[in-house]
């Protein structure tokens, strides 16, 4: 079952600058410090938006998918994260329906945008 919108992922070319801007414009506060994710080819900061968040990301691997996305489409909204109560169960049922999955790990899974009208969804096991 889908429980709600967890966060919106935003891809930018300069993380510090974007974080400062969003905090200034919208009065948001960081939930995390700058965190490097070498496996994902990016660094990120989560900003608190009520009970949800913005995930602001900057590519760190110039050959990675995020860097290519940034080059192709420019800065902006990148993915939508949904909290679900049972990622593995949901993914199994989605795969049975022919939905293509990407970048799967413990407690999370990305769905290929070609299955979902161009939207990159990230499903994440809800902690709530």
């Amino acid at each position: 079952m889908i429980k709600g919108i967890g966060h919106a992922g935003i891809l930018v070319s300069n993380l510090d600058e974007a974080v400062e801007l969003y905090c200034d414009l919208f009065g948001l506060e960081p939930l995390t410090q700058v965190t490097d994710w070498p496996g994902e080819g990016m660094k990120n900061v989560l900003l608190k938006v009520g009970n949800q968040a913005f995930e602001v990301m900057e590519p760190t691997d110039p050959q990675g998918g995020l860097a290519r996305f940034l080059e192709r489409r420019g800065e902006g909204l990148h993915h939508l994260n949904l909290e679900v109560d049972d990622v593995d169960g949901l993914v199994k049922s989605l795969e049975a329906k022919g939905v293509v999955t990407l970048g799967r790990g413990p407690g999370f899974c990305f769905l290929h945008p070609k299955s979902t009208r161009g939207v990159l969804f990230e499903l994440i096991q809800s902690a709530k």
Binding site: G4, I5, V49, R73, L80, K97, R117, V119
Partner: protein, 132 residues
């Protein structure tokens, strides 16, 4: 003050077909549909927990959503943040020199709304909405 993510809006070419996809994939169904001529779209709201996913299909080929799809294809179009006071938010953004699409709040699907220009927000089209 920003309260929460109210909805995320997805631009699609065919609303009925997209609703079918979201129902088949996620078991999510639309709770409301409406034409919004001044935004050049017809829209459907899908409840997701206490937030919503909005699907918008262009009905005006010259409108912003039609141009978005032409340029970038279907996908996430904007994010709407719920605020407690839309007048105050727009005024404070304007005072900071932020480019606004709407300097005055207007009626939208999510309440009294105003759009911030994506050039001011690193490419993110942000809608602010106060519930009415």
């Amino acid at each position: 003050m920003i309260k929460r993510i109210d909805h995320v809006s997805i631009a699609v070419k065919d609303l009925d077909e997209a609703l079918g996809v979201f129902k088949a994939v996620f078991g999510l169904e639309s709770v409301h549909q409406e034409e919004i001529p001044d935004q050049g779209v017809k829209a459907a709201l899908i409840k997701v927990g206490d937030g919503e996913i909005e699907l918008v299909e262009p009905i005006d080929p010259e409108g912003g959503v039609a141009k978005f799809i032409e340029r970038r294809g279907e996908g996430i179009h904007h994010i709407c943040l719920e605020v407690d006071n839309i007048d105050e938010e727009l005024k404070s953004l304007e005072a900071k020199g932020v480019a606004l699409i709407d300097k005055q709040p207007r009626r939208g699907l999510a309440g009294m709304i105003g759009f911030v220009h994506p050039k001011a927000t690193k490419g993110v089209l942000v809608e602010l909405a106060q519930k009415v």
